[in-house]
Amino acid sequence: MLKELNKNKIMFLMLLPTLIFFLINSYFPMVGIYYAFTRYDFEGGLFGSPFVGLENFKFLWQSGMLLKLTTNTVGYNLAFIILGNGLAIFCAIMLSEIRGRLFKKITQSVMFLPYFISFVLLSVIAYNMFNYESGFVNTVLKRFEAGPVDIYNTPWIWVFLIIIFYLWKNLGYSMVIYLAAITGISDEYYEAARMDGANIFQRIWYITVPMLKPTFVILLLFSLGSIMKGQFDLFYQLIGNNGVLYNATDIIDTYVYRSLKVTFDIGMATAAGLYQSLFGFILIMTVNYIIRKVNEDYALF
């Protein structure tokens, strides 16, 4: 090690800031996991707070909180993964078959635009469209004599709205990736298929779709790994501290944030965070293990 250090002194120095960054930003906080087993008090700090064992976890479990948060987090993420990839592949295939170059360029730019805006602006958009008194949706409904709907007090609508906003914001980004994969498919395949008399639907089904599989699998694996992590910004900016909607929209990340900022429930928040990390870790390991068995090329590590 020392010999190596001496030989590649400069390379070590070049890597050092990055290592320090991850040490501070990621590894040191792991010590704080201990809070999950304490009833945190501000006087005591890390090791001065009373140790309570698994009480925080027990409470989270018995209150039904853990179950609700897990179902919501995993459920939303599955919807994001399935619908997000499905729509992106669908659009990428359509766009790749379109001949007009200017049309292609403009529409692709327009669909990529939402990816660039902040989640705060997303919340302004949601407010503009859905607020009770002056929201655009209610303006339109009123015109058709359909009376205003109190969307901000109707939990089930938000299940769909959150998914739609997610798709809206991320479509352009994932579409670009699939479009790149389609561009990479050799024209010879299509030529040959055309010679054999395959029509456009057959060409898409038998060439484009199978050729997109590797890209799809890799993106799928990446997203499966983070299935316990929510899109915190998306959920928090759309729902905020609107308690009426929690049952349908609360995910682990929003619960942890609220426990830290609003209710100051440090022990409970750390416990929920630790549960999220552990559960996610086990999930990634399992997924990776299975993939390794099936096809080593696709494994994450």
């Binding site: 120095l13 990621s26 792991m30 704080g32 805006i117 705060v120 750390t270």
Partner: protein
């Protein structure tokens, strides 16, 4: 080969193929157009709201086009220009410093981690990658930075957490590997250049498209950040732009609700609705303005990354 029968079947399939293609293109065009409109519509709604008079919004709600054109929202935003300008200053400063510093560190790390003659590259790569698998969670991270490093209300905390992510380092590593041939580094070493020199004069030049992509990711992250302010910043002079917008949205709502509670209709005096929309436009403007120029690089970088990765 040229029997009449054969020619007949061929033209027949060709005809059917072109019919299918026409049908498919028709569907594609309509579908893509509808989606594009849906992507633009919300922006139009906000733009229209910002140019409407508050009274017309309160009475008739938000419309796609301003029903009663007015600039009162913008006037309200710039009634106290120092606050907006300060938020702009903070965001521009953190974006520039964070992106530059982050790029510098990420490219250096990516360069070292892809060097085959660096023995511990896999160990360190895993040290970085592991942080995506397991972490301490938000609360221990927050308490450490706030209580043990005392970073509350500092510029450091606005810049530090966003400097790099494992994803960006891996992206850069792969990019440098494919853009900079080993032989080039080898021959530079023989010529007597040290590793830092190689990095500055060779890697930084050859990896430009990758650097542009990662830089855009970083800059976008800093520009759109509201979360760091919400956790660590108490001093309103140091609010990031997005958090300032977030606060404006909530404060005006709050004042509005207070007014309703006390029976005073403030809405008539303070143009709350149009101010919110004008504020959103003022904050988002630069991104929308820069977007057409920036987007090209993003698509290019993502395309390279997706095909190579």
């Amino acid at each position: 080969m040229n029997t009449p029968m054969n020619t007949h079947t061929r033209t027949n399939t060709r005809l059917r193929d072109s019919e299918f293609t026409f049908m498919f293109q028709l569907i594609s065009y309509s579908f893509i157009i509808i989606l594009s409109i849906m992507c633009l519509l919300p922006f139009l709604l906000i733009l229209s709201g910002s140019f409407s008079s508050n009274e017309s919004i309160v009475r008739n709600g938000y419309h796609l086009f301003p029903t009663d054109f007015s600039l009162e929202g913008y006037k309200m935003v710039f009634k106290f220009p120092t606050q907006v300008l300060k938020a702009y200053g903070v965001t521009v400063f953190t974006t520039v410093v964070g992106t530059t510093l982050g790029l510098f560190l990420i490219t250096m790390a990516g360069f070292v981690l892809q060097r085959k003659d660096f023995k511990y590259r896999n160990t360190f790569s895993f040290f970085i990658y592991f942080t995506t698998l397991f972490g301490g969670g938000l609360v221990p991270w927050y308490i450490m930075l706030a209580n043990y490093f005392n970073l509350t209300d500092t510029y450091t905390v606005l810049i530090f957490p966003g400097l790099m992510t494992p994803f960006l380092i891996i992206l850069m590593k792969n990019f440098i590997r494919s853009a900079v041939p080993d032989e080039l580094i080898e021959s530079a070493k023989i010529d007597g250049a040290n590793d830092f020199r190689i990095y500055v004069s060779i890697v930084l030049k050859l990896a430009m498209p990758g650097i542009a992509t990662v830089g855009l990711f970083l800059a976008l992250g800093y520009w759109n950040d509201w979360f760091t302010s919400s956790l660590f910043i108490n001093n309103p002079d140091m609010y990031q732009l997005q958090f300032y917008l977030y606060n404006t949205m909530n404060t005006i709502t709050f004042i509005d609700q207070m007014a309703i509670g006390t029976g005073i209709t403030l809405s008539q005096e303070v143009p709350t609705e149009s101010t919110k929309m004008a504020m959103a436009i003022v904050v988002t403007g630069p991104i929308l303005f820069l977007y057409p120029f920036v987007q090209r690089y993003f698509v290019k970088g993502l395309t390279i990354g997706a095909v190579k990765g």
